[in-house]
């Protein structure tokens, strides 16, 4: 089964294509999309086990020798990311059954999700820089469709801005690839890594590194480039927002981690320090946003920005603990952001508003929702047995080891603000006098709660079982810290 690493990309693509044929049959669509995602999940888990036992998997399409064909590479971090993105999509689709509404379901909603998953998984798995651009476009195109689907005024308005920003950043991506090609003369990521190592410290390579930071920073929402995110993400309906918030920025973060560990390791003093400074300012900006709003969506959206900063700080320290921590935190953040968005989705459904000041006292009537929100909020902040703890602990430890004292203190302080912003939602929405409660049918409530609680349980298990995950995470961090493991796997595969 040498093609195993292609299955998480191909299965969603296949099912998306099949789903295009019968858009009006909602029931069949639902069944097929669930089957497709379950099959992808199985293949992703098999891939995870395969990578764990046999090391990095690489395949060059069409049996061309490595630098000449398109290589698909699955190391531990990409296998983990692929698995968690499929898990999130599965829960979001389950949640969509009750919340998205039939009109949208009939308008190619599920195929768009599956095409987006194809793009996301492809971007995580690819080993070719131009192919990564193509997969970025696949996921962006589907995200354009998802953000505008339904055609409400606010969606139209915000999607124009979203598309414009992404067109510019995609052009910049192609420009950067062009520059890189003129320097190294290859597009295969492993080959670029080898060639750049022989070129050594050169001005143009640093410039290209910064250009890549700008490109992926726009996708991943780091400090001066996150301006598009709050407006655009608030526009689409909640399941779509969940999918975007959990997956899209993480693709940018993954791409930064990949390029900055595989390509640009010769001038670490400049590039990684820049990355570190930007990540700290990203955290500060996110914290300000998270405290400033009384809007449920905006608070969690700014928490995405904070998390991006934390992950990139861990990656920029370039030591063992920092990298391990950021891998832990990356997966944690995908899961917990998914859970939180689904939870606030239920709150918004119950109260009919996303303004915190117009709601209150939900605790009495919806205790299960309240407690699971509290657990998710604690997980987000990183209270010990829950999921956010280990990642942040290791990142801070890596920061102290690298003697980045102030930066690490910033990370710790940001946890307090994250906790404050999340608890504020809890206090406003669940405590006090009951107000703004609309009666939604108990059936709808249960149908929305089921996937949400399952996802919260997944995050709790991720926290409690982190000891069992350590070997996987260590493998991921090892490949990131030592590019030769990656390049050997690509060039050793075909002899």
């Amino acid at each position: 089964m040498i093609n195993l690493l292609l299955f998480p990309v191909l299965i969603p693509f296949l099912f998306a294509t099949i789903l295009l044929f019968f858009p009006k049959k909602v029931k069949a669509q639902r069944i097929m999309v669930t089957i497709g995602l379950l099959l992808s999940l199985i293949s992703a888990i098999m891939l995870l086990i395969k990578v764990k036992t046999d090391g990095v998997q690489a395949i060059t399409l069409g049996s061309w020798a490595p630098p000449f064909g398109i290589t698909m590479t699955s190391d531990m971090i990409s296998a983990l990311l692929v698995t968690s993105s499929i898990i999130i999509s599965l829960f979001v689709v389950w949640y969509s059954f009750t919340s998205i509404g039939e009109d949208r379901e009939k308008a190619f909603y599920y195929p768009a999700i599956l095409f987006m998953l194809t793009g996301v998984n492809g971007a995580f798995t690819t080993g070719d820089i131009f192919n990564m651009f193509v997969f970025f476009e696949v996921l962006l195109m589907s995200s354009y469709v998802l953000i505008v689907l339904g055609g409400e005024k606010v969606q139209l308005r915000e999607s124009i801005k979203y598309i414009l920003v992404n067109i510019v950043s995609s052009s910049l991506f192609v420009i950067t690839v062009g520059y890189l090609y003129s320097v190294v003369g290859t597009l295969n990521m492993a080959d670029i890594s080898v060639k750049l190592a022989t070129i050594g410290q050169s001005g143009i390579v640093t410039v290209i590194a910064v250009l890549f930071l700008v490109v992926f920073g726009i996708k991943g929402a780091i400090f001066p480039l996150f301006f598009w995110l709050p407006g655009s993400y608030a526009a689409p309906p909640l399941p779509v927002l969940t999918l975007f918030g959990a997956l899209l920025t993480k693709v940018g973060v993954y791409a930064i981690m990949r390029t900055y560990t595989l390509f640009f390791t010769t001038d670490v003093g400049f590039t990684h320090e820049l990355l570190m400074i930007l990540s700290i300012i990203t955290i500060v900006a996110g914290c300000i946003g998270a405290l400033a709003y009384f809007d449920l969506k905006q608070i969690i959206i700014y928490n995405i920005v904070i998390a991006v900063g934390v992950i990139l700080f861990g990656a920029s320290t370039m030591n063992e603990n920092g990298m391990l921590g950021s891998v832990f935190y990356l997966i944690h953040d995908i899961l917990i952001k998914g859970a939180l968005f689904l939870l606030i989705g239920i709150i918004i459904k119950i109260t009919g508003t996303s303004d915190l000041r117009k709601m209150g006292g939900l605790m009495k009537r919806y205790p299960v929702l309240a407690w699971s929100y509290l657990i998710a909020a604690f997980g987000l902040a990183g209270i010990p047995p829950l999921s956010g703890f280990v990642g942040k602990l290791l990142i801070v430890q890596g920061g102290f080891e690298g003697e980045y004292l102030w930066q690490s203190i910033f990370i710790l302080a940001s946890s307090l603000i994250v906790l404050l912003s999340a608890i504020r939602i809890f206090i406003y929405a669940f405590w006090g006098e009951e107000k703004g409660v609309k009666d939604i049918s108990i059936k709808t409530y249960r149908h929305l709660l089921a996937p949400t609680i399952c996802l919260v349980i997944v995050t709790v298990l991720y926290g409690i079982g982190s000891e069992y995950l350590v070997p996987f995470m260590t493998d991921a961090a090892t490949v990131l810290l030592d590019p030769s493991v990656y390049t050997d796997a690509v060039f050793g595969g075909v002899k």
Partner: protein
């Protein structure tokens, strides 16, 4: 030749950025068109403008142009074509729904939809 192309591409980028920063939606889309033209020209320039013959295998031809940038550009062209078509339709739809193509009016909160 590469210098000349670089200057031309620079002008294209300049015009594109100027147009993208303007208010009218249609000007912005024209700007993105110019931006992608510049990008594609940049790709072909960065691949090197050497070589005498088109990269088609035929007898007696040894001095080829680098075929890889051409393939990349072809891919990038169709992608940007798709995105441009989408954004044009979106702009049309937005104009019909919101009644304006002025970007500075497309803001605000829930209240002034």
């Amino acid at each position: 030749m590469e210098i000349l192309m670089s200057i031309l591409i620079g002008f294209l980028f300049m015009a594109a950025i100027y147009l993208i920063l303007s208010r009218s939606l249609l000007r912005i889309i024209i700007g993105t068109g110019l931006l992608s033209h510049g990008t594609h020209l940049l790709l072909i320039t960065m691949g090197g403008l050497g070589g005498k013959n088109a990269p088609v295998l035929s007898e007696g031809v040894t001095d080829y142009v680098d075929p890889l940038p051409q393939a990349l550009i072809l891919t990038a062209i169709v992608i940007s074509f798709g995105v441009t078509a989408f954004s044009l339709v979106l702009a049309y739809r937005t104009y019909k729904e919101l009644g304006t193509d002025n970007m500075s009016l497309m803001k605000g909160t829930e209240d002034n939809d």
